[in-house]
Symmetry: C2
Subunit: 398 residues, 2 copies
């Protein structure tokens, strides 16, 4: 008699963002014709850049001809793309070998699946609030979770785990708070991991949004991090690949645990991916290679600048209207404090009903997110401006 | 102190096909200039069909323009594609709702991950020999496996599990033997599953290769299978999407277990996918929609016919040369018996060294595959013909 995985009962029925979408849909059904502005899900809105578009058309044409058609690629990704990623790190002073790069179909699946190379008994430390995938995936996997509180008091950068943790998820620039970790703060986590034989899973999906040259864009900028950290990256926010699906994960050859020598974890992830994954779409990979070219980098950086100007518009507009906001300076998210006495979902409803703007309730990211809203800078400029005007005009800041 | 997943030590270091590739590469390095013909991995070789190519170009153009650009899609797939899959089943007499269709990035990840909605204590029944993903993924997941022997004596269609199984993986048309299960044989498994409260995972990735109108192409052609079976499908072999990555999984609303009412497992898989997956590539999905259109079906069926003519060339050529072969009549795989006294890997080396043809050792698919080779019908016709001639001319059948 087959039984179900009992841990599904421990997570909410829906992935949090689905609840946001559902509530927005319900409002639209009740108020047909009312234009809704979406600053909720971190969903890119600007078109793919020209060099990526050209590479993808060329990739489709290759697949259309008998002489150039290719079938399965290597599960770990195309050799040229893996090399391009290693080179990309080289340009920021981080030396990695192409064998340490695993191309993925985006950061989310890898954030959820990477833990499977470790023991089920591992204790997992997760920031609160944070991207809900770490929490939900580890809950479904039946792992014990220790939360690290990120609050206004600590500038939304948590202290080290208060009890022993085997696996530590860090997200910087942070989703949802927009907080970034300094070199010293990251160093403290690396020191902890080395001392406690723990592994850090560093989600760097928003690294291209860092504007402060002193903030590390890769965990590997910290000495000895290759011995204790896995880094997960994404083309989603850096190149508009949210729907195209492409990312990568670095499992350094130097990464080791007490029971696995250097190299073993790289092999395990290789085995995991070649058994349970079949490579990212070849068209996406050709597009990703173009995004990492000098011209592609120029074009995508301009797009990131566009979203960061949106972030400035939101940050300054809401501040001027009297709201208290955090983040948005090296991240595409603004962390908006709810007016006193309002819960995240209460304020969500107010913003939706009065300003016709969809945001994301901070409480969906963890208990410490209660009383905050995540406002996303992904959107067309005119929509961002209209949304900020509408919030300022229709809602009380206090 | 973090520990690794101990079950990685229970699988071979490499996914089996990688060993085949490595041995072929070593031969090429020792014998530069010698042309190697590949009938090994089931890798499509013919170009994407015109209607798919047109749809993919259109999809890239959509992503290149501000007005038509889209970011994240629904994790479970585009609504129109889910509906098209339901309609596709309707055309073969199977009634499914679009909510039961989950678009994936191919059959392999779903075959590996679907078990995660069930208890870790589940006992899993797997055919021997069979596609190694079921075995490897469940071994890495720490599940107990019961093997169902597929041998010459039972026509390579196994009997019911000899001891209780909670989850039963079936693959028909079978990879690697090319055997297909009759309606009566499938009915017996459905009866077993209903009586024992088990769930069948039916891998139908090769259904388009079935030439015998009496052989079910979907498990749901068997009455009450919706109550006990999940079906996994792929665009890889039906439309040449091996590198493009697209498939689907059906989790019927009627599927229930003792501890989960009808609908719950559909919700769990939805939760799993929205937490640990982020949708198949939008370009692949637009291509898949075109492949399911009337014109796309016509074009892809012609391509499948091409590969099936390859299968006939292999089957008849090897038979004429005195070899004993099975399969290849409703499947793109021919199951070739090794000459007496030779193991699969010994014969693999002989075929490679004497005929310069790469095949896949049957032993890689399970203990009962020892003494057989899988010969793939995916290839250009002229290569297939040359490979068959070369094997016939250079190897002894007895």
């Amino acid at each position: 008699m087959v039984k179900v995985n009992p841990h599904y009962a421990e997570v909410s029925e829906n992935y949090m963002f689905l609840d946001v979408v559902k509530r927005a849909r319900a409002f639209t059904e009740k108020n047909p014709g009312v234009k809704i502005l979406k600053l909720a899900i971190g969903n890119t809105t600007e078109p793919l850049v020209p060099s990526v578009v050209a590479a993808m058309h060329a990739s489709v044409d290759k697949l259309a001809a008998r002489e150039s058609y290719t079938g399965y690629g290597d599960e770990q990704g195309n050799t040229d793309l893996r090399q391009a990623v290693a080179t990309w790190y080289g340009a920021r002073g981080v030396t990695l070998d192409a064998s340490e790069v695993f191309i993925s179909d985006g950061a989310k699946p890898d954030c959820a699946n990477i833990v499977s190379i470790f023991s089920d008994e591992s204790i997992v430390a997760i920031q609160d609030p944070v991207y809900p995938v770490y929490r939900d995936a580890n809950t479904i996997g039946g792992r014990r979770i220790v939360y690290m509180a990120a609050t206004e008091a600590n500038g939304f950068v948590p202290a080290l785990p208060s009890e022993h943790a085997d696996i530590i998820f860090l997200c910087s620039p942070n989703n949802p708070t927009g907080a970034v970790m300094t070199r010293e703060q990251l160093q403290a986590f690396v020191d902890y991991a080395l001392a406690n034989k723990s592994v850090i899973i560093f989600d760097a999906a928003y690294s291209e949004y860092i504007r402060d040259a002193n903030i590390p864009r890769s965990i590997y900028e910290i000495p000895r991090a290759v011995e204790c950290a896995i880094e997960i990256q994404s083309f989603s926010k850096a190149a508009g690949f949210t729907g195209v699906r492409l990312g990568w994960t670095i499992v350094p050859q130097a990464l080791a645990t007490e029971d696995a020598a250097a190299g073993a974890l790289n092999k395990y992830w290789h085995r995991r991916q070649s058994t349970m994954f079949n490579g990212a779409s070849n068209i996406a990979q050709e597009g990703g290679l173009a995004a990492l070219s000098p011209q592609g980098q120029k074009e995508t950086h301009e797009q990131v600048d566009y979203y960061m100007e949106n972030a400035r518009v939101i940050r300054e507009g809401l501040t001027k209207a009297g709201f208290t906001v955090f983040g948005g300076e090296s991240a595409p998210y603004i962390w908006l404090k709810c007016p006193a006495g309002l819960s995240s979902w209460q304020f969500f409803d107010q913003i939706l009903e009065k300003a016709h703007v969809v945001t994301t309730p901070g409480s969906g990211f963890g208990g410490n997110g209660e009383g905050y809203m995540r406002v996303s800078a992904f959107g067309h400029r005119e929509d961002i401006e209209e949304a900020v005007r509408s919030i300022a005009a229709n809602l009380k800041a206090v």
